[in-house]
Symmetry: C2
Subunit: 181 residues, 2 copies
């Protein structure tokens, strides 16, 4: 039986960080970079407290997120070895549900509807691996956790960190011969 992986969307297969910066520039006319966000939380990432929540509540935000570099190729490759589930904590933003499904069908048409999960928290998700950028999701996970690097998690030390999909693939392939990472 194939081992299972729960893959997050925003910050893992969707480059939401670039999207925040684009939407911020479009609204305020100020061009910031990923370096400007480093070490900040979602709420204080930008000078306007909570502006990310406003973006995330706006129609079309989730529909138009760019795909994370290398994610499409990586998932195609992973599917030959693992059972992949897309697990996105989407329920806080109801308008995101159909947008996320449309986005997945557009960019990852090879992932079927049976392998997509939209949830509130991820506390009852049980897979062998989870790749996520949110510490809380990994803290409540009982399998092997892999932290996808993001501005809001740079100071965290508890999990194996990957900076891109090339590294994520290497880590997951290595586990095929050795369960510890």
């Amino acid at each position: 039986m194939k081992k299972t992986i729960a893959l997050d969307m925003d910050g893992v297969i969707a480059d939401v960080e670039s999207h925040y910066l684009t939407w911020y520039e479009n609204e305020f006319g100020i061009k910031l970079t990923k370096k400007d966000l480093l070490g900040k939380s979602h709420d204080d990432a930008f000078p306007q407290f909570g502006i990310i929540r406003k973006f995330a509540s706006t129609p079309d935000f989730f529909l138009t997120i760019p795909v994370m570099d290398g994610a499409v190729e990586a998932l195609r490759e992973l599917m030959t070895t693992f059972d992949i589930y897309i697990v996105s904590a989407a329920m806080e933003y109801p308008q995101s549900l159909p947008e996320k499904l449309t986005w997945l069908n557009k960019h990852f048409p090879f992932i079927g509807w049976r392998n997509i999960i939209f949830c509130g928290n991820k506390n009852i998700i049980a897979t062998d691996y989870m790749i996520d950028d949110q510490i809380l999701n990994l803290d409540n996970f009982s399998g092997t956790s892999i932290l996808f690097d993001a501005f809001h998690n740079v100071d965290h030390k508890d999990y194996a960190r990957v900076f891109n999909w090339k590294e994520a693939l290497q880590v997951l392939k290595a586990t095929l011969n050795n369960d510890s990472i």
Copy 2:
């Protein structure tokens, strides 16, 4: 820590069987009863093969399902003892996602967004209990399964069967003193 329960929507907290009969009568002018569906599958439940899939693909179908008798009171009571998650295999019908969320917020406003999961299959859901009317979901579940009686599962013998929410409550309460059911 509270034990966790995954509760299905259609056929468990939503009386989708009554809804099929209502929609069938509205479309074909023929009044059938629950007895007419007994022992049939979803596809051959009505003389028109697959008509249930057509209903389930129609806007407003999921928004207007009546609540299962006793479900609201039962869930309020269960929440004092268990962590309840609503887990619905909704992904096959994308238009159902916002409808199901609206329906839950209307009829079960005491269930927060953190405890709602819309999925394709339920293979990676890990709770202590699952209440479901679909045999396939229970077959792939590693916790304690409780089968909610429905026309399409009457011949199945593998799981503890409950016929209504009064019985479901009794079974779950009994487990607090004894893990086997």
